[in-house]
Protein backbone atom coordinates (compact mmCIF):
# COMPACT_ATOMS: atom_id res chain seq x y z
CA UNK A 1 0.00 0.00 0.00
CA UNK A 2 2.57 2.50 1.05
CA UNK A 3 5.25 0.75 -0.92
CA UNK A 4 4.03 1.80 -4.36
CA UNK A 5 3.42 5.32 -3.12
CA UNK A 6 6.83 5.46 -1.61
CA UNK A 7 8.41 4.04 -4.69
CA UNK A 8 6.55 6.55 -6.77
CA UNK A 9 7.86 9.31 -4.60
CA UNK A 10 11.30 7.79 -4.70
CA UNK A 11 11.08 7.41 -8.42
CA UNK A 12 10.00 10.97 -8.81
CA UNK A 13 12.79 12.05 -6.55
CA UNK A 14 15.32 10.01 -8.45
CA UNK A 15 14.03 11.29 -11.77
CA UNK A 16 14.12 14.78 -10.43
CA UNK A 17 17.65 14.29 -9.27
CA UNK A 18 18.69 12.89 -12.62
CA UNK A 19 17.09 15.81 -14.37
CA UNK A 20 18.81 18.19 -12.03
CA UNK A 21 22.18 16.49 -12.54
CA UNK A 22 21.68 16.40 -16.28
CA UNK A 23 20.80 20.05 -16.20
CA UNK A 24 23.85 20.82 -14.13
CA UNK A 25 26.09 18.77 -16.35
CA UNK A 26 24.69 20.39 -19.47
CA UNK A 27 24.98 23.73 -17.83
CA UNK A 28 28.55 23.02 -16.84
CA UNK A 29 29.44 21.85 -20.31
CA UNK A 30 28.04 24.79 -22.12
CA UNK A 31 28.16 27.31 -19.30
CA UNK A 32 28.04 30.12 -19.00
CA UNK A 33 27.75 31.07 -22.63
CA UNK A 34 24.66 29.05 -23.35
CA UNK A 35 22.54 31.30 -21.19
CA UNK A 36 23.87 34.62 -22.42
CA UNK A 37 27.00 35.88 -24.07
CA UNK A 38 29.62 36.28 -21.39
CA UNK A 39 30.93 39.83 -21.34
CA UNK A 40 34.45 40.05 -22.81
CA UNK A 41 36.08 41.43 -19.67
CA UNK A 42 34.32 38.87 -17.48
CA UNK A 43 35.56 36.15 -19.77
CA UNK A 44 39.15 37.42 -19.62
CA UNK A 45 38.93 37.62 -15.84
CA UNK A 46 37.63 34.07 -15.56
CA UNK A 47 40.01 32.52 -18.09
CA UNK A 48 43.02 34.38 -16.67
CA UNK A 49 42.31 33.06 -13.20
CA UNK A 50 41.88 29.52 -14.52
CA UNK A 51 45.04 29.73 -16.61
CA UNK A 52 47.15 31.13 -13.76
CA UNK A 53 45.85 28.48 -11.36
CA UNK A 54 46.67 25.77 -13.86
CA UNK A 55 50.20 27.03 -14.48
CA UNK A 56 50.87 27.38 -10.75
CA UNK A 57 49.62 23.83 -10.15
CA UNK A 58 51.71 22.23 -12.89
CA UNK A 59 55.51 22.33 -12.54
CA UNK A 60 55.86 20.65 -15.95
CA UNK A 61 54.25 23.65 -17.60
CA UNK A 62 56.40 26.08 -15.63
CA UNK A 63 59.54 24.24 -16.64
CA UNK A 64 58.59 24.87 -20.26
CA UNK A 65 57.98 21.24 -21.27
CA UNK A 66 56.82 21.92 -24.83
CA UNK A 67 54.44 18.96 -25.14
CA UNK A 68 52.75 19.80 -21.89
CA UNK A 69 52.57 23.50 -22.69
CA UNK A 70 51.16 22.70 -26.11
CA UNK A 71 48.45 20.53 -24.61
CA UNK A 72 47.63 23.17 -22.03
CA UNK A 73 47.43 25.90 -24.68
CA UNK A 74 45.09 23.80 -26.82
CA UNK A 75 42.85 23.01 -23.88
CA UNK A 76 42.64 26.34 -22.14
CA UNK A 77 43.75 29.13 -24.42
CA UNK A 78 42.89 28.25 -28.00
CA UNK A 79 39.13 27.97 -27.29
CA UNK A 80 39.05 31.69 -26.51
CA UNK A 81 41.40 32.78 -29.32
CA UNK A 82 40.55 33.41 -32.96
CA UNK A 83 43.96 32.21 -34.00
CA UNK A 84 43.24 32.24 -37.71
CA UNK A 85 42.37 35.92 -37.54
CA UNK A 86 45.47 36.60 -35.49
CA UNK A 87 47.61 34.84 -38.10
CA UNK A 88 45.87 36.54 -41.03
CA UNK A 89 46.38 40.01 -39.56
CA UNK A 90 50.01 39.25 -38.77
CA UNK A 91 50.64 38.02 -42.30
CA UNK A 92 48.94 41.11 -43.71
CA UNK A 93 47.25 41.53 -47.04
CA UNK A 94 49.21 38.69 -48.59
CA UNK A 95 46.86 36.40 -46.67
CA UNK A 96 44.17 37.00 -49.27
CA UNK A 97 46.27 35.41 -51.98
CA UNK A 98 47.18 32.38 -49.86
CA UNK A 99 45.58 29.05 -50.72
CA UNK A 100 43.66 27.23 -47.99
CA UNK A 101 46.57 24.85 -47.65
CA UNK A 102 49.08 27.68 -47.25
CA UNK A 103 46.82 29.33 -44.68
CA UNK A 104 46.75 26.09 -42.76
CA UNK A 105 50.54 25.98 -42.79
CA UNK A 106 50.85 29.60 -41.73
CA UNK A 107 48.51 29.03 -38.80
CA UNK A 108 50.46 25.96 -37.75
CA UNK A 109 53.91 27.56 -38.02
CA UNK A 110 52.82 30.76 -36.32
CA UNK A 111 51.35 28.75 -33.47
CA UNK A 112 54.63 26.85 -33.06
CA UNK A 113 56.63 30.09 -33.17
CA UNK A 114 54.54 31.68 -30.42
CA UNK A 115 54.53 28.52 -28.35
CA UNK A 116 58.31 28.23 -28.40
CA UNK A 117 58.81 31.87 -27.77
CA UNK A 118 56.56 32.23 -24.79
CA UNK A 119 56.80 28.82 -23.15
CA UNK A 120 60.01 30.01 -21.47
CA UNK A 121 58.16 32.91 -19.88
CA UNK A 122 55.88 30.49 -18.00
CA UNK A 123 58.71 29.78 -15.58
CA UNK A 124 58.22 33.34 -14.32
CA UNK A 125 54.74 32.54 -13.02
CA UNK A 126 54.76 32.55 -9.24
CA UNK A 127 52.40 34.55 -7.10
CA UNK A 128 50.93 36.74 -9.83
CA UNK A 129 47.30 37.65 -10.12
CA UNK A 130 45.25 39.59 -12.64
CA UNK A 131 43.60 42.91 -12.00
CA UNK A 132 41.00 44.04 -14.50
CA UNK A 133 40.92 47.67 -15.53
CA UNK A 134 37.71 49.51 -16.33
CA UNK A 135 36.51 48.91 -19.87
CA UNK A 136 35.15 51.62 -22.09
CA UNK A 137 32.93 49.98 -24.64
CA UNK A 138 29.49 50.34 -25.99
CA UNK A 139 27.31 47.28 -25.28
CA UNK A 140 26.64 47.12 -29.03
CA UNK A 141 30.36 46.97 -29.91
CA UNK A 142 31.50 43.79 -31.57
CA UNK A 143 35.19 44.64 -31.35
CA UNK A 144 36.58 45.79 -28.02
CA UNK A 145 39.79 46.24 -26.06
CA UNK A 146 39.87 44.60 -22.63
CA UNK A 147 42.50 45.98 -20.27
CA UNK A 148 44.15 44.23 -17.40
CA UNK A 149 47.41 44.06 -15.56
CA UNK A 150 49.46 41.33 -14.00
CA UNK A 151 50.18 42.05 -10.36
CA UNK A 152 53.15 40.32 -8.82
CA UNK A 153 54.84 40.48 -5.49
CA UNK A 154 57.51 43.15 -5.50
CA UNK A 155 57.30 43.86 -9.22
CA UNK A 156 55.66 46.60 -11.19
CA UNK A 157 52.26 45.84 -12.69
CA UNK A 158 52.58 44.50 -16.24
CA UNK A 159 50.09 45.91 -18.69
CA UNK A 160 48.19 43.15 -20.51
CA UNK A 161 45.44 44.10 -22.95
CA UNK A 162 43.39 42.10 -25.42
CA UNK A 163 41.63 42.91 -28.66
CA UNK A 164 38.48 40.84 -28.79
CA UNK A 165 35.79 40.28 -31.34
CA UNK A 166 32.36 38.77 -31.05
CA UNK A 167 32.21 35.70 -33.27
CA UNK A 168 28.89 33.90 -33.11
CA UNK A 169 28.02 33.98 -29.44
CA UNK A 170 31.58 33.99 -28.09
CA UNK A 171 34.12 36.71 -27.62
CA UNK A 172 37.46 35.68 -29.00
CA UNK A 173 40.89 37.22 -28.57
CA UNK A 174 42.74 38.15 -31.74
CA UNK A 175 45.53 40.39 -30.46
CA UNK A 176 47.45 40.83 -27.22
CA UNK A 177 49.28 43.84 -25.87
CA UNK A 178 52.11 43.35 -23.40
CA UNK A 179 53.59 46.51 -21.88
CA UNK A 180 52.19 48.64 -24.67
CA UNK A 181 53.37 46.44 -27.53
CA UNK A 182 50.77 44.76 -29.74
CA UNK A 183 51.66 41.28 -30.90
CA UNK A 184 50.01 41.44 -34.34
CA UNK A 185 51.56 44.78 -35.27
CA UNK A 186 55.00 43.57 -34.21
CA UNK A 187 54.81 40.36 -36.19
CA UNK A 188 53.29 42.09 -39.19
CA UNK A 189 56.35 44.33 -39.32
CA UNK A 190 58.56 41.26 -39.02
CA UNK A 191 56.72 39.40 -41.76
CA UNK A 192 56.27 42.27 -44.22
CA UNK A 193 59.79 42.30 -45.69
CA UNK A 194 59.78 38.50 -45.98
CA UNK A 195 56.42 38.47 -47.75
CA UNK A 196 57.42 41.26 -50.11
CA UNK A 197 60.56 39.33 -51.05
CA UNK A 198 59.50 35.71 -51.15
CA UNK A 199 55.73 35.87 -51.02
CA UNK A 200 53.64 33.53 -48.89
CA UNK A 201 55.81 30.48 -49.68
CA UNK A 202 58.86 32.46 -48.53
CA UNK A 203 57.18 33.31 -45.24
CA UNK A 204 56.14 29.71 -44.62
CA UNK A 205 59.70 28.64 -45.36
CA UNK A 206 61.28 31.18 -42.98
CA UNK A 207 58.87 30.29 -40.20
CA UNK A 208 59.54 26.61 -40.70
CA UNK A 209 63.26 27.23 -40.69
CA UNK A 210 62.99 29.38 -37.54
CA UNK A 211 60.90 26.75 -35.77
CA UNK A 212 63.21 23.89 -36.65
CA UNK A 213 66.12 25.52 -34.84
CA UNK A 214 66.65 23.65 -31.59
CA UNK A 215 64.27 23.98 -28.67
CA UNK A 216 63.99 27.13 -26.65
CA UNK A 217 67.75 27.47 -26.58
CA UNK A 218 69.12 30.72 -27.94
CA UNK A 219 69.96 30.29 -31.61
CA UNK A 220 73.63 29.92 -32.53
CA UNK A 221 75.47 33.17 -33.00
CA UNK A 222 75.19 34.62 -36.44
CA UNK A 223 78.49 34.10 -38.22
Amino acid sequence: MTAPALSRTTRRLVLGLIALLAGLALGALSSPRALAVEAPDKQIERVSAEVLARIKADPEIRSGNLDRVSQFVDEMIMPVVDFERMTALSVGRGWREATPEQRQQLVEQFRTLLLRTYSGALSEVRDQSIRMKPMRADPADKDVIVRSEVIGHGTEPIQLDYRMRLTGDTWKIYDINVLGVWLVETYRNQFAPIVSQGGIPGLIESLRERNSRGGTEPPPAKG
Binding site: G120, F191, A192
Partner: protein, 244 residues
Protein backbone atom coordinates in the same frame (compact mmCIF):
# COMPACT_ATOMS: atom_id res chain seq x y z
CA UNK B 1 70.35 74.95 -31.67
CA UNK B 2 69.67 71.28 -31.32
CA UNK B 3 68.82 71.12 -35.01
CA UNK B 4 72.17 72.66 -35.86
CA UNK B 5 73.96 70.06 -33.78
CA UNK B 6 72.11 67.19 -35.36
CA UNK B 7 72.28 68.35 -38.94
CA UNK B 8 75.69 66.81 -39.75
CA UNK B 9 74.63 63.52 -38.18
CA UNK B 10 71.47 63.54 -40.22
CA UNK B 11 73.28 64.39 -43.41
CA UNK B 12 75.79 61.62 -42.87
CA UNK B 13 73.08 59.15 -42.10
CA UNK B 14 71.04 60.06 -45.14
CA UNK B 15 74.16 59.73 -47.24
CA UNK B 16 74.64 56.26 -45.84
CA UNK B 17 71.03 55.36 -46.34
CA UNK B 18 70.78 56.64 -49.86
CA UNK B 19 71.72 53.42 -51.51
CA UNK B 20 70.03 51.04 -49.11
CA UNK B 21 66.61 49.67 -49.72
CA UNK B 22 64.10 51.72 -47.81
CA UNK B 23 60.61 50.42 -48.32
CA UNK B 24 57.72 49.75 -46.02
CA UNK B 25 57.05 51.41 -42.70
CA UNK B 26 60.78 51.65 -41.97
CA UNK B 27 61.22 54.38 -44.56
CA UNK B 28 59.18 56.86 -42.54
CA UNK B 29 59.99 55.97 -38.93
CA UNK B 30 63.56 54.91 -39.54
CA UNK B 31 65.29 56.85 -42.31
CA UNK B 32 68.62 56.21 -40.57
CA UNK B 33 68.20 52.44 -40.67
CA UNK B 34 71.64 51.55 -42.08
CA UNK B 35 73.45 53.58 -39.43
CA UNK B 36 71.10 52.34 -36.73
CA UNK B 37 71.67 48.75 -37.73
CA UNK B 38 75.41 49.23 -37.47
CA UNK B 39 75.15 50.72 -33.97
CA UNK B 40 72.68 48.01 -33.01
CA UNK B 41 75.19 45.37 -34.06
CA UNK B 42 77.88 47.14 -32.02
CA UNK B 43 75.64 47.28 -28.93
CA UNK B 44 74.67 43.67 -29.43
CA UNK B 45 78.29 42.53 -29.50
CA UNK B 46 79.09 44.62 -26.45
CA UNK B 47 76.15 43.12 -24.62
CA UNK B 48 76.92 39.60 -25.63
CA UNK B 49 80.56 39.63 -24.59
CA UNK B 50 80.56 42.06 -21.67
CA UNK B 51 77.27 43.19 -20.20
CA UNK B 52 75.22 40.03 -20.33
CA UNK B 53 77.94 37.79 -18.85
CA UNK B 54 78.58 40.38 -16.14
CA UNK B 55 74.88 40.66 -15.33
CA UNK B 56 74.56 36.88 -15.25
CA UNK B 57 77.47 36.68 -12.81
CA UNK B 58 75.87 39.43 -10.72
CA UNK B 59 72.63 37.46 -10.59
CA UNK B 60 74.31 34.12 -9.89
CA UNK B 61 77.06 35.06 -7.44
CA UNK B 62 75.90 38.15 -5.56
CA UNK B 63 73.66 37.26 -2.60
CA UNK B 64 69.99 37.86 -3.22
CA UNK B 65 69.67 40.07 -0.15
CA UNK B 66 72.25 42.48 -1.51
CA UNK B 67 70.61 42.57 -4.93
CA UNK B 68 67.19 43.07 -3.37
CA UNK B 69 68.37 46.01 -1.26
CA UNK B 70 70.45 47.60 -4.03
CA UNK B 71 67.62 47.27 -6.56
CA UNK B 72 65.10 48.84 -4.20
CA UNK B 73 67.41 51.74 -3.38
CA UNK B 74 67.99 52.51 -7.07
CA UNK B 75 64.28 52.37 -7.73
CA UNK B 76 63.55 54.61 -4.77
CA UNK B 77 65.90 57.26 -6.16
CA UNK B 78 64.26 56.93 -9.57
CA UNK B 79 60.85 57.56 -8.04
CA UNK B 80 62.00 61.09 -7.18
CA UNK B 81 62.47 61.98 -10.84
CA UNK B 82 59.31 60.09 -11.81
CA UNK B 83 57.40 62.26 -9.38
CA UNK B 84 58.88 65.47 -10.81
CA UNK B 85 58.03 64.37 -14.34
CA UNK B 86 54.47 63.55 -13.37
CA UNK B 87 54.19 67.08 -12.07
CA UNK B 88 55.65 68.47 -15.31
CA UNK B 89 53.11 66.37 -17.22
CA UNK B 90 50.24 67.89 -15.28
CA UNK B 91 49.43 64.80 -13.24
CA UNK B 92 49.55 66.10 -9.65
CA UNK B 93 47.73 63.04 -8.31
CA UNK B 94 50.33 60.63 -9.63
CA UNK B 95 53.12 63.02 -8.68
CA UNK B 96 51.85 63.03 -5.10
CA UNK B 97 51.53 59.26 -5.07
CA UNK B 98 55.09 58.82 -6.36
CA UNK B 99 56.42 61.39 -3.92
CA UNK B 100 54.55 59.49 -1.21
CA UNK B 101 56.37 56.36 -2.32
CA UNK B 102 59.72 58.08 -1.84
CA UNK B 103 58.75 59.36 1.61
CA UNK B 104 57.38 56.00 2.78
CA UNK B 105 60.23 53.96 1.33
CA UNK B 106 62.93 56.31 2.62
CA UNK B 107 61.52 56.23 6.16
CA UNK B 108 59.67 52.97 6.78
CA UNK B 109 61.64 51.27 4.05
CA UNK B 110 64.96 52.21 5.69
CA UNK B 111 66.48 54.54 3.09
CA UNK B 112 64.72 52.73 0.30
CA UNK B 113 66.07 49.29 1.13
CA UNK B 114 62.57 47.88 1.10
CA UNK B 115 59.63 48.76 -1.10
CA UNK B 116 57.03 49.24 1.62
CA UNK B 117 55.01 51.62 -0.54
CA UNK B 118 54.11 48.93 -3.08
CA UNK B 119 52.88 46.72 -0.26
CA UNK B 120 50.75 49.62 0.93
CA UNK B 121 49.20 49.92 -2.51
CA UNK B 122 51.11 52.83 -4.04
CA UNK B 123 51.87 51.42 -7.49
CA UNK B 124 55.22 52.22 -9.06
CA UNK B 125 55.29 54.32 -12.22
CA UNK B 126 58.12 55.08 -14.57
CA UNK B 127 58.34 58.55 -16.03
CA UNK B 128 61.29 60.21 -17.68
CA UNK B 129 61.90 63.48 -19.44
CA UNK B 130 61.38 61.92 -22.89
CA UNK B 131 57.84 60.99 -21.87
CA UNK B 132 57.30 64.49 -20.51
CA UNK B 133 58.35 65.96 -23.85
CA UNK B 134 55.93 63.53 -25.50
CA UNK B 135 53.10 64.73 -23.28
CA UNK B 136 54.01 68.30 -24.23
CA UNK B 137 53.51 67.35 -27.85
CA UNK B 138 57.12 67.05 -29.00
CA UNK B 139 57.20 64.52 -31.86
CA UNK B 140 59.61 61.61 -31.58
CA UNK B 141 61.41 62.32 -34.84
CA UNK B 142 63.23 59.44 -36.53
CA UNK B 143 64.22 56.29 -34.69
CA UNK B 144 67.76 56.38 -33.41
CA UNK B 145 69.98 53.69 -31.91
CA UNK B 146 72.48 55.19 -29.49
CA UNK B 147 75.81 53.53 -28.78
CA UNK B 148 75.67 51.95 -25.27
CA UNK B 149 72.17 53.25 -24.53
CA UNK B 150 70.34 51.37 -27.26
CA UNK B 151 66.98 52.15 -28.89
CA UNK B 152 65.94 55.79 -28.81
CA UNK B 153 64.76 58.58 -31.07
CA UNK B 154 65.41 62.26 -31.70
CA UNK B 155 63.18 63.24 -28.79
CA UNK B 156 64.06 60.66 -26.14
CA UNK B 157 67.80 60.61 -26.91
CA UNK B 158 68.47 64.29 -26.04
CA UNK B 159 66.05 63.94 -23.10
CA UNK B 160 68.45 61.39 -21.59
CA UNK B 161 70.84 64.27 -20.93
CA UNK B 162 68.20 65.93 -18.73
CA UNK B 163 67.52 62.61 -17.01
CA UNK B 164 71.24 62.25 -16.31
CA UNK B 165 71.42 65.73 -14.77
CA UNK B 166 68.47 64.91 -12.57
CA UNK B 167 70.00 61.66 -11.37
CA UNK B 168 70.29 62.05 -7.58
CA UNK B 169 73.26 59.70 -7.28
CA UNK B 170 75.79 62.36 -8.35
CA UNK B 171 74.83 64.94 -5.68
CA UNK B 172 74.42 62.21 -3.05
CA UNK B 173 77.84 60.63 -3.46
CA UNK B 174 80.90 62.88 -3.57
CA UNK B 175 83.56 60.20 -3.66
CA UNK B 176 84.19 59.52 -7.35
CA UNK B 177 85.32 55.85 -7.17
CA UNK B 178 82.40 55.01 -4.90
CA UNK B 179 80.00 56.84 -7.17
CA UNK B 180 81.29 55.02 -10.24
CA UNK B 181 80.97 51.70 -8.44
CA UNK B 182 77.36 52.56 -7.63
CA UNK B 183 76.73 53.44 -11.27
CA UNK B 184 78.27 50.13 -12.28
CA UNK B 185 76.11 48.15 -9.88
CA UNK B 186 73.05 49.97 -11.18
CA UNK B 187 73.87 48.99 -14.76
CA UNK B 188 74.29 45.35 -13.69
CA UNK B 189 71.09 45.47 -11.68
CA UNK B 190 69.12 46.86 -14.62
CA UNK B 191 70.59 44.37 -17.05
CA UNK B 192 70.10 41.43 -14.69
CA UNK B 193 66.37 42.16 -14.54
CA UNK B 194 66.21 41.76 -18.30
CA UNK B 195 68.01 38.43 -18.49
CA UNK B 196 64.79 36.46 -18.90
CA UNK B 197 63.40 38.91 -21.42
CA UNK B 198 66.51 38.91 -23.57
CA UNK B 199 66.34 35.13 -23.74
CA UNK B 200 62.85 35.49 -25.18
CA UNK B 201 64.18 38.12 -27.57
CA UNK B 202 66.71 35.68 -29.02
CA UNK B 203 63.96 33.25 -29.79
CA UNK B 204 61.19 35.47 -30.88
CA UNK B 205 62.43 37.44 -33.74
CA UNK B 206 63.09 36.75 -37.37
CA UNK B 207 64.82 40.12 -37.46
CA UNK B 208 65.90 41.23 -34.00
CA UNK B 209 66.62 44.76 -35.12
CA UNK B 210 63.08 45.25 -36.42
CA UNK B 211 61.67 43.59 -33.36
CA UNK B 212 63.53 45.92 -31.01
CA UNK B 213 62.64 48.95 -33.06
CA UNK B 214 58.93 48.26 -33.27
CA UNK B 215 58.78 47.20 -29.67
CA UNK B 216 60.56 50.34 -28.55
CA UNK B 217 58.44 52.71 -30.63
CA UNK B 218 55.16 51.13 -29.56
CA UNK B 219 56.22 50.99 -25.94
CA UNK B 220 57.35 54.61 -25.79
CA UNK B 221 54.14 55.78 -27.43
CA UNK B 222 52.15 53.73 -24.96
CA UNK B 223 54.11 55.17 -22.03
CA UNK B 224 53.49 58.74 -23.14
CA UNK B 225 49.76 58.01 -22.99
CA UNK B 226 50.11 55.98 -19.77
CA UNK B 227 49.24 52.72 -21.46
CA UNK B 228 46.24 53.93 -23.40
CA UNK B 229 47.31 55.62 -26.63
CA UNK B 230 44.73 56.86 -29.14
CA UNK B 231 44.66 54.90 -32.39
CA UNK B 232 46.97 56.01 -35.17
CA UNK B 233 45.63 56.97 -38.59
CA UNK B 234 46.96 53.84 -40.21
CA UNK B 235 46.30 51.72 -37.15
CA UNK B 236 44.67 48.42 -37.66
CA UNK B 237 43.02 48.83 -40.95
CA UNK B 238 41.97 45.22 -40.90
CA UNK B 239 38.81 45.68 -42.94
CA UNK B 240 40.46 43.87 -45.85
CA UNK B 241 40.15 40.66 -43.89
CA UNK B 242 36.41 40.93 -43.58
CA UNK B 243 35.85 41.86 -47.22
CA UNK B 244 36.60 38.32 -48.32
Amino acid sequence: MRGALLAPVLAAAIGLGGCASSQGPGATVDPLEPMNRAIFAFNDTLDKYALEPAATAYRDYVPETFRFIAGNMFENLRDVWTSVNNLLQGKPGQAASDFGRVVVNTTFGFLGMGDVASELGFPKHREDFGQTLGVWGVPTGPYLVLPFFGPSNFRDGPALVVDAYADPIAPLIDDVPVRNTVYGIRVLDDRARLLGASGVMDDIALDRYLFMRDGYLQRRRSLVYDGDPPPLDDDYDDSWLDEE
